[in-house]
Structure formats: C-alpha cells, structure tokens
Amino acid sequence: MARFKNHILVCGGTGCRASESEAIAVNLKRSIDENNLENDVQVVRTGCFGFCEKGPVVKMVPDNTFYVHVTPDDAEDLVLEHLIKGRKVERLLYVDPETKEHVSDSKHMDFYKKQIRIALRNCGFINPENIDEYIARDGYSALGTILDEMTPEEAIKVVKDSGLRGRGGGGFPTGLKWEITLKSESEQKYVVCNADEGDPGAFMDRSILEGDPHSVLEAMAICGYCIGADAGLIYIRAEYPLAIKRLKIAIEQARDYGLFGKDIFGSGFNFDVEIRYGAGAFVCGEETALIHSMEGLRGEPTVKPPFPSVSGYKGKPTNVNNVETFANIPAIFLKGADWFRKIGTEKSPGTKVFALAGKVNNVGLIEVPMGTTLREVIFDIGGGIKGGKKFKAVQTGGPSGGCLTVNHLDLPIDYDSLIASGSMMGSGGMIVMDEDDCMVSMAKFYLDFTVEESCGKCSPCRIGNKRLYELLEKITLGKGDEGDLTRLRNLANVIKDTALCGLGQTSPNPVLSTMDNFPEEYEAHVKESKCPAGQCRALMQYVIHPKLCTGCTLCARVCPVDAISGDKKMPHFIDTSICIKCGACMDKCKFGAISIQ
C-alpha cells in the first residue's frame, strides 16, 4: 500500500457536496498531478465534518489545517501555497468571531472545543468507501474480539454496563433490548437498523452512514451474535442516495473481507445484511410501522406489546436499533463500558449527536456529552444567535418535541431532563428561534408536518391533530377566542393521552410547550388580535407615517393592488382593506415612513 506524506481530507457529506466539494477534490487531484506530487499527497473524500455552516471544508493532514468555505478555484492555491511553499492560505482560514483572529486547527475552534466524538469518531477522518481506512482505526476488531472471546451473554453485559440508551428518541436501554431479544426463543431472529431519519432538518444518521458506514455494519454483526440472529436489515429512506451508495459499497467490502457471510473469523457465526428502502413516511421511523413497511404492508404502527423483540419482522424476534445507537457499539467494546459511563450523565451516559439548525451562527452536526447545557450548545458551540438577535426558544426532538425557553438554557441535556421540561430528546433535531419567531406559528408549522405524516390509523391523531392545526390557524388569523385556547389545551392533552403510537402521543408537544412557556403570545393573538413577533400576516397592518412621508409616490407606484393613494408631495395612505401585505411599499420607501403595526 502506498504511503503518503500528506493527506487532503475533503468533506464528502451531502451538504458540502452540494457546494461543489467534489469539484474541489477533482481540482486538488489535478493540481497534485501537475506538480508531480501524486506519490506524496492523497486526496481523501471523507464523511461530514459537522461544521456545515463553514462548508465546504478541507482539512490538511498531518498539520491539521482546517480550511473553510473552500471553492473549486481555491484548489490550486491549496496545493501551491500550503503543500509546496508551506504557507497557510489565510483567506480560507476560520476567523474567530470574538477575537477576529485566524484559527487554523479545528480543535481550537469553539465549535469543536466542547464536542466529544464517539458516534461521529470516524466522520471527517476516513474515506468511507475504503474498508481499510476503517480497519486502520480498529474497525472490526471489536467484532473479532467478541466472536473470539465472549459469549453473547458476556457481550450483552458490556452493553448493559455501558448504560447506552436508544438514540432514536425513546432512550430504551440498548443492552436490555438485546437481552430480551436473546431470550425470545426462535430459530430465526433479525437485527434491524432504523435509518429512516425523518425529522425535518435532521441529518445525524445520514451523516454517520455517509461518513462511517462500517461502524454501523460492525455493530449490527455484534448485535446479531449477541441476540442469535444471522440476518440484518437496514431500513433506509430512498431519498438518502449517497448513504445508500456508501452502505452498498461497505457491505460488498465487508463480504469480500469475510467480515460478513458464513463462519465469520472462523467462529461459526454467520451474518449478512440487506438494505430495505422506505418511501419517506415519517411514521415509518416508529419500529412497528417500520417492520410492517419492510414486510410490504402499509406503514402503520401496531399496539405494543407485542414488542418487536418478541414478535417483529415476519413475526420473529427482532432487535431494532437506530443508526447512532449502533455507531456507539464498536467504541464501547474497544474502550470498555467504564470509559463510556464516565462520559455524559449517570442516567444517560455517552454523547448525543444533534443537528443544530435555525437562527444560530454555527449550523451543523455536533456531538456533545449528555449533560451539556443548552446554553453551551447554542452559545458556545453554536456561536450564538444570528444577526445579534435575542434568543427566544429552542425546539428539541424534532417536530414532536417541545419549545424550551431562556429559562431552560442551563438545563443539562439528557433524556429525562428534556421530558421533564416538556420536550424530548427525539432523534436529535435542535432548531433555534429568535425574537422574530411567533410561537403560535411555530406550533402550527410543526402540526402541519404531523398532520401530513400521520398514518391515519387512530382517531386522535388522524382527526385530532387536524383539529389542533385548524385551531392554531384560526388563532394566527386573529379569529380565535379564549374558548379556543381551552379547547386547544384539552385536545392536545387528550391526543397525548390516547394516541396509538409515539407520533400521536408527542405531536401536541409543540402546542403544549409553547402554551406553557409563551402564554402571553397566545393571549395577544386571541385577545388583542396581535402577533407580538410580527409574523402572522393576517394580524399585521402596514401604515404610512404622515410626518415622515414626503409624498414621493414611489410606494403607490409599486403597490401591486393599488392600495396606496395620495396626492403628490402629500402624505400617502394605505387602504388596509385592499392591502395584501406583500411589503413591497416598505422595501421601496426611502424615508422609513412605512412600518408594520
């Protein structure tokens, strides 16, 4: 195998690829060849670095220079300046927002400082399409050791001791799940990897599969050995083409290396996996719905019990874990349960990956120890709120999580604390909102999603969520009354109490948490017909200040519906019964005479 002096790591995650990172890699390679460096320098397309805000990202190894916002045109400079002349390309270095100084090594960036990467340990380091790179970082050695030295019971004990809990959202102890499946007697059992990541804006699982597919495959084989299954199924949504491609390559490579198939490591243990595609239904992330979808049935949940670990795919005991849960497994075996337990909190050991999004400066994928506070995540790692605006709320747990406020900023994040404060961990979506966001609209936005994604099986979810949405719409249109607030709360509570599956039981969370945390905003909508955040169009009015208006007529000319009248050089007037609130007048006014009330 060729040995290279330098490696250039180019982010090959979906986000950076969308910003032409593939062209960067191609140009880098061309420049390397032109300068006869092909024997010394290798270009590696890695998985996601996480710092998507600054993408595309290119990292030089061994000196760990971290270049941000790189374009394909920068490739030549990186080769000529950085590699040949040994000078850092300053214009592509990260600038610390506080000190305004260049920071070249990612470990000194606030974004990375507080992160501990277990699930994402290989993302951004290795070429996910090359099994050797995974093996070079101790890949498959956990599987080898387990098959060689441990009984399934012993291996399950390690997982139980680690305290790992399901990262898909439920937080069920993983080791216990494995143990139950082991104890369910059956000739045939299955390991299922839930890669049906459906939360809008979340891409934790996708990034792991794109950046480090082997860690998931290895974990599935370990799980198979532990529970007595020789077949694995990965349920992945079809709209993740890159993850699917890399998974397929990884599966082929693992088979070629004898890591999948018959008699792995001469242990007598057989294991192989198959990929199953989901059509993009959010509810298919629920494990029973997922199993029905894989069976070719309508993707809708069934009442548990029976749990899949007793009766799952084709009625056989089936262990379903999410991608991130699996990605933790090899590391736990390599470094030990005690090591894992020391990270995070007592009841939620380890780390959690979040997709940080919304009105925050550093949007991206982060992995932090459980117990990290929301403040650390949003202000230290996330770099605070965009445009210097005021933090208002953060939605955790995806569309059915709750909105937490400034009062929760010092809340250490773990499964239990989030639930106690009216939200949830979910799969790890985290959307930050600022003072311009209306919380009623926000609740409506999430309900719109759950209404769309409900499978329709149970009446509280099928009809109740629709009615919740309609009530919210009524309120944002300024047509609500106080009785609607009572109805809204009762309905939300009943849906939570009676819905069949996790989707329906949590879908009212955005409503309840915003009603609890921002009661004044709901009241302003129904009592005063006002939207304090100025976001609800129906409640806004554009007005012209007569004192500031010069009568230049520009606003009247741009108004698409002729709602503005007035004589030249005289103050103008907006007829609100005609105005469609498009905002064109306000944009055009040079005198700041038009405002929203």
Partner: protein
C-alpha cells in the same frame, strides 16, 4: 392455565392469562364502550386495530391511557374505566370522530343500526366542541354495494373481513392522515376490482359507509305496473332472520308470516327459492354421480372433486382467483337463477304469459345475488331471468312501508307449483346444507336403496372448514365443506395441487353460509344470532313432511312435463351455465 388477578373499578376479577381488559371488564358486568373492536369466535374474525381509541381506560402506573381491547390483563393491575380523565378523553375522541362524519342520521341507510350513533347516544354527546374540515371521497355505486366513504370511521372491520376472513384483498387503507380511507387499490370502483360482492364488509360496517344497493323502489314500480305479473321467490335463509327486523328473537322462523306479508305487498305469485334448491339438487346431484361413476370407471379426464356452484360470491371468487380451475365446479346454476329460468319458461308458458310480462323478484340474504342476476348469460334477449334481487333487510323495509304489523300477520302458504319444497332445500341456507341435501338424493340414486336416516350430523357445524366421509353402501364418499372464502381458498389450493382427497366440496362465501349473508339483518358481531338462525333452519327441515329433493312432487312433475330428466338437453340449456376467466391482468398500454 395461568390466572391473573386484577381490579377493575374497585372490583376484583380473576381471568385467564391473555384476556384483554375489555373482556375482563365484560365478565364482571362492566361494559366499556368500544367502536372499532369486533370479534366473532368460530368465524375467524377478529378486528382490534386499537384505532378508534374509544375504549381507553386508566391503568395505574401507566403514563397514558390504555386501549382496553388491546391491553392484556396483568397480575395486580388496577384499572379505572370511568375517571374524569377517561370520560373526558373518550368523549373528546368520539366528538372528533363525529366532527369528521356527515350528520345525516335522519336520512342515512344505517340509521337505527349505526354503532356510531348508538355510541354518541350512550355517551350523551349533545355538542361537538371540535369542528372543522370534513373529509370527502368519491362515491362508489356497484350493482350490489354502495360505498359512501365520507361516513368511514377507519375502524378497519371491512378490511379484516375482506382480507383475513375472505382473502379477497380488495379493501385496504389508502392515503395518509386525515385523507386515510379504506378503499380498493388506487381508489378504483368496486365494479373494477376483484370484489365478490359477498357483502361481508357491509355486514360488519358500524356506520353507513358500506350499505347494499337498495332496489326496493324497483320492486314497488313493478308491483304497481298493471301490465306486469310479479313473481317473488324467497331464499331459505331469509325466513330464519326476517323476524329480527321486527324485534323477534333471533332464530324465530317466520315463513308463514313472510308469505302473508309478500302477498299483502301485492305480489301475484309468492314462490319459494327452495323449490329451485330441490331442482339444483337434481341437477348437481346427478352431475356428481355422473362424474363419480366416470371416475370409478377409470375416466382420467373427469374432474373430481366437484364443487358446488350455488353461491354467486364464490363463483366470482374463483373466476378471479382460480380461473384455471373453471372446469372443477358444477355447471349447475344457483337456485335463484334456476328459479328465474323456470319461471320465465315453464311457468310463463303454463300461465300463458310472455316472459317479458313477467317480473321475477328474489328476496335473498345476500348482496352478491344483486350482481348475479345482472350477469349477461342469465338473460334472454336482454330480459333477465331474475329482474330484481332485494335483501332480507330491504324486504323488512317494504313491509314497514306497507304499514303491516308483521308480528300479528297470519301464517300463509306458498303458491304452487314453484312453492313446494322439501327439508333438503331448506338447509341450503346454512353451511353444510347443500351437500347434505345432495347426499340425501345422491345416496338413493346411486344405491337404489331407501335412505332411512336423513340427518347427516357429521356434515353440520360452524367450523370454517370441515370434512366427513359418507358411506354410499360401500363407496366411501369424502366430502369437504368450507364457508368463508378464506377457508375456501385453502381447500381450493389443495385441489389445485392435486392433494385433495375429496369427491365433493361445498363452498359458501359467507361465514355460516347464507344465514350469515351480507343482506341479513345486522348481527353486530354477535355469533349467537347466526347459530340461532342455523338451528331454525334445521328445525324447519325436521318439520317438513318430505326431506329429499327428488321426492318433491312438483319437481317430479316439472321433469315429467317439461325438462325430461336431469342433465337433459333442455336442462342444460335452462339450468346449467359456464364461467369466465376474470383474472386481473396487467394492462400494457
């Protein structure tokens, strides 16, 4: 047997492990309201998707409310079925369902029989606090079944009936969320699907979403038309169920009152489908013996077992699902169609009427019969042998419309010659009956001996699929019986694979046979009603002076005067039919 002890509403209860909260509560007199749940033992029907959430109860230590129909009892469980939390949740859920349901109760075909209406009434819902958009779906008007899916509450009972019991696979949930509804694939019309019109979906639908196509008005039009002679035939299962529509105990035989009512309604001749059932036995029994004898004589071409063909749902089922086996079932028409055929030939001639001036109405426990009489092969120059088929429920409606107090009507007798029947024909109405009737006749025809004991109890019962061996004087005849198309499919698969040892198989599409037909008064999941109807049928048989079809004097007269002998050329022309390959093929444009 493992027992678990629990407390429901402060009452201790001990139940078998695996019992649901709903069942446990019922056993101590606590009736938890439910809606989507329906379970019929012996019928292989169990619908408990846990979807409506009406039966929710509070279980101590549990975070959310538990659906009683799906939650199994565990040791020490403490359950409350009517706390404020539960009652509020239940009412809210029912209000939600009502908020997406057309409030057309006054004119709905299901009014008075609607389980949603009953539920709302029992809970005392007087106001719906959550209103909003209602879902709308296109209507579907097939010859037998009307789908009005705006009234669908997604209980999924029809889906269970269609897929699990009948294995027809037409109905399933489509779309998502608020738009979800039960429909054939791509929301096609039933008419274009492989629906058999067995009507079991209608029989279990709690609301007015699925109902029969109502033809009562066509009957009234015929009755008031002075140029028409209107003849009615009534199927055996009708008389064992019609009384229920007038508040009588299930299993009350109302043959005489029914005849009386039909006469008062203005029918010119009140005849009996039972007569045609006796005729069916003559033809089908002869066909069985013919095939059997050829088989015994070493004819390799002959198809055995012979399958009965009197059930139109079953006929359509095998035309769609097993078209390669169309030469296996008997070619005998169903009694309804044999009757029509004879009425419009033999009887019309006898009465000196043109067939066009005769209107044949059938009263059937069945919805598939509505479709059957529209099949082209059952008409002559566009004039159908049977003009209109109405269900037991529709007859009840006609009787009510005519202001007849059914309970006090005197008993009356059928007209002749097409009204005379034997005990053998009466039992056509229940599973096992057709084959028992056939055996009674075939035995005597085959052995030439007198059959002393006519009750073949080994052929009776409610198990979905049964088998028995009947001794034909040394010849052991293996007989199979299936009711419910799912059970039929299993027997058919066996026949297809050549593993079947049966000589004859009776198949009825509906669980229980015609007594459980899709056109019968609604049973609301109570299997006892079907069992009582079955008992009534056997009682009627027992009371008949003649219990073998071939001994029916009017049948004998019919052959003597008109048909000649069973399977004669004229019999073939009038009483036998052929089948069509209806397998759905992928259409390539």
């Amino acid at each position: 047997m493992n027992l678990v002890k629990l407390t429901i509403d402060n009452k201790p209860v001990v139940v078998e492990n695996g019992t649901t909260l709903l069942e446990a509560a019922k056993s101590i007199g606590i009736k938890i309201p439910s809606l989507c749940y329906m379970k019929m033992d012996d019928m292989n029907f169990e619908n408990k998707p846990g979807g409506c959430r009406v039966c929710v109860v509070e279980v101590e230590g549990r975070r959310n409310l538990a659906p009683a129909c799906k939650t199994e009892c565990t040791e020490g469980m403490v359950v409350n079925t009517h706390t404020v939390r539960v009652v509020n949740a239940r009412r809210t859920v029912v209000e939600l369902i009502l908020s997406d349901h057309p409030a057309e109760c006054l004119t709905c075909a299901k009014s008075g029989e609607c389980e949603l209406q009953d539920l709302a009434q029992n809970l005392g819902i007087r106001e719906i606090h959550y209103t909003g958009e209602q879902s709308h779906y296109k209507g579907d008007l097939s010859p037998a079944i009307i789908r009005e899916m705006d009234k669908c509450i997604m209980c999924r009972r029809c889906e269970t009936a269609c897929n699990e019991v009948q294995t027809v696979g037409v109905l399933s949930a489509v779309n998502r969320g608020f738009e979800s509804v039960v429909a054939p694939a791509f929301e096609m019309d039933l008419d274009h699907s492989v629906c058999t019109y067995c009507g079991q979906c209608v029989a279990v639908c709690p609301t007015g979403a699925l109902t029969e196509r109502d033809y009562t008005w066509k009957v009234i039009e015929a009755l008031v038309d002075p140029t028409k002679t209107v003849v009615v035939q009534t199927a055996p299962a009708v008389r064992a169920a019609l009384g229920e529509s007038f508040g009588m105990e299930p299993g009350t035989l109302v043959t005489g009152k029914m005849v009386s009512a039909l006469r008062k309604l203005g029918f010119d001749y009140v005849f009996d489908t039972d007569f045609a059932a006796d005729l069916t036995i003559m033809e089908e029994g002869t066909e069985l013996l013919d095939r059997l004898n050829r088989h015994l004589n070493g004819d390799q071409e002959v198809k055995l077992p012979i399958l009965t063909s009197c059930c139109p749902g079953w006929v359509k089922f095998f035309e769609h699902q097993f078209p390669e086996m169309m030469d296996v079932p008997s070619t005998s028409k169903s009694p309804q169609q044999m009757f029509g055929s004879i009425a419009k030939s033999y009887f019309a001639k006898k009465m000196n009427k043109k067939r066009e001036d005769l209107v044949v109405v059938s009263v059937m426990p069945c919805l598939a019969k509505k479709y059957e009489c529209t099949r082209e092969e059952f008409s002559v120059n566009g004039d159908p042998d049977v003009n209109v088929s109405i269900s037991t429920r529709e007859l009840a409606q006609l009787i009510r419309n005519a202001n007849l107090d059914f309970a006090v009507l005197p008993d009356d007798d059928f007209d002749q010659p097409l009204g005379e029947s034997t005990g053998a024909s009466v039992i056509f109405g229940t599973t096992g009956g057709v084959i028992e009737a056939a055996v009674r006749t075939a035995y005597e025809l085959h052995t030439g001996k007198h059959l002393e004991k006519v009750d073949f109890t080994e052929l009776r019962g409610m198990e979905g699929s049964r088998k028995a061996t009947v001794d034909f004087d040394g010849l052991k005849l293996n007989i199979g019986i299936a009711h419910g198309l799912g059970n039929a499919r299993k027997l058919l698969e066996e026949v297809k694979s050549g593993k079947s040892e049966f000589h004859a198989i009776e198949i009825m599409a509906c669980p229980g046979g015609c007594i459980g037909g899709g056109g019968q008064p609604y049973h609301h999941g109570n299997v006892d009603i079907l069992k009582k109807r079955q008992r009534a049928i056997y009682e009627e048989d027992k009371g008949k002076p003649i219990r073998k079809s071939h001994e029916n004097p009017f049948i004998q007269q019919l052959y003597k005067e008109f048909l000649g002998k069973p399977m004669s050329d004229l019999s073939h022309e009038l009483l036998h039919t052929h089948y069509f390959d209806r397998k759905k093929k992928a259409e390539i444009e």
